[in-house]
Symmetry: C2
Subunit: 206 residues, 2 copies
Amino acid sequence: MEAMPSKLLEKVVDEFSKLPGVGTQTALRFALHLLKQNRSDAAMLPAAIEQMLDGIKFCKNCHSISDTDVCQICSNPKRQTDVVCVVENIQGVMAIEHTAQYTGVYHVLGGVISPIDGIGINDLTIAQLIERVKNGGVKEVILALPTTMEGDTTNFYINKQLQNYPVNVSTLARGVAIGDNLEYADEVTLGRSIVNRVPFDSIYRK
Amino acid sequence: MEAMPSKLLEKVVDEFSKLPGVGTQTALRFALHLLKQNRSDAAMLPAAIEQMLDGIKFCKNCHSISDTDVCQICSNPKRQTDVVCVVENIQGVMAIEHTAQYTGVYHVLGGVISPIDGIGINDLTIAQLIERVKNGGVKEVILALPTTMEGDTTNFYINKQLQNYPVNVSTLARGVAIGDNLEYADEVTLGRSIVNRVPFDSIYRK
């Protein structure tokens, strides 16, 4: 990268470059974009970031991001608190909420077990999940972790930990995605789909 | 986009989305990345932006971004102040500086004439350029604007304005890029390269 004409600009470019997927050229474009705005518009980004860093909380129940001690979902009286869906992160919560098909609550693990990335059991909220189940009132735990080796490892670990408690453990259905052509489905998914085939009526029921 | 679990997060995502080329998913990734950092690391981005917005100046001579009233290049006694290279923006300055081939100074226009984008002559620093030439001490003006219709329009306009002053107006050499195969050069560039061919020695001289 060329020498920057300003140390102040250089510092902003350095900081933007730390964001995922942002290189120096993109970071420079971001910084110059802010400089082109009027002062008060440009100041909204740093102000919003600082307010978020100061104000954001993690829900006491589900460990999701929240503006309050207990998040909107956990404090919603219409949600079933006896069904807990375990997700890796907040994106998981948002993706499932987006389907508008789920009325239970969540438990955000904060990652999956991954020795390569140095993420162990104690870096996640697994103990808190067991505690929630131990305290009673949970009928079903749905494991909705990513379908990777790390996700599967975490699934197995949690499932084992829950075996001593009177709780049903389920996981997301696997199969051919809706709208997919069979020739584009990967072999493992397609293989499991044919082995674990389901009654026609169970898919097409209203 | 799914409903965000936090207004504070949503505001940051909104602000990040205003950056060029950043959609909601990328903005969310940026915001969650900041939340994963420790508090003081995450606070460096907004702090750097605010310091830049508060402190940055535009050089009185060349209108480039600067930390001081007169930029590093204009105040460098080793630079030839009688050769002025006209560029669209600060990226132009940085690109030419990167070549380490230029010892003159710059004039940053702040854009090129573009009626479609609502950019007219008075939005640019053309009057200030004419003023610099009028005040004397400028032997040569090098037009290094983009090779677009807007860039060419701006080139012609500036050239016309400078005709009454004793100053040489030059522009960047056009031709086949070094390292390019001929079959990949566009026709216009290649056509101009053959018409405006140059003595062999002028290219290969040390």
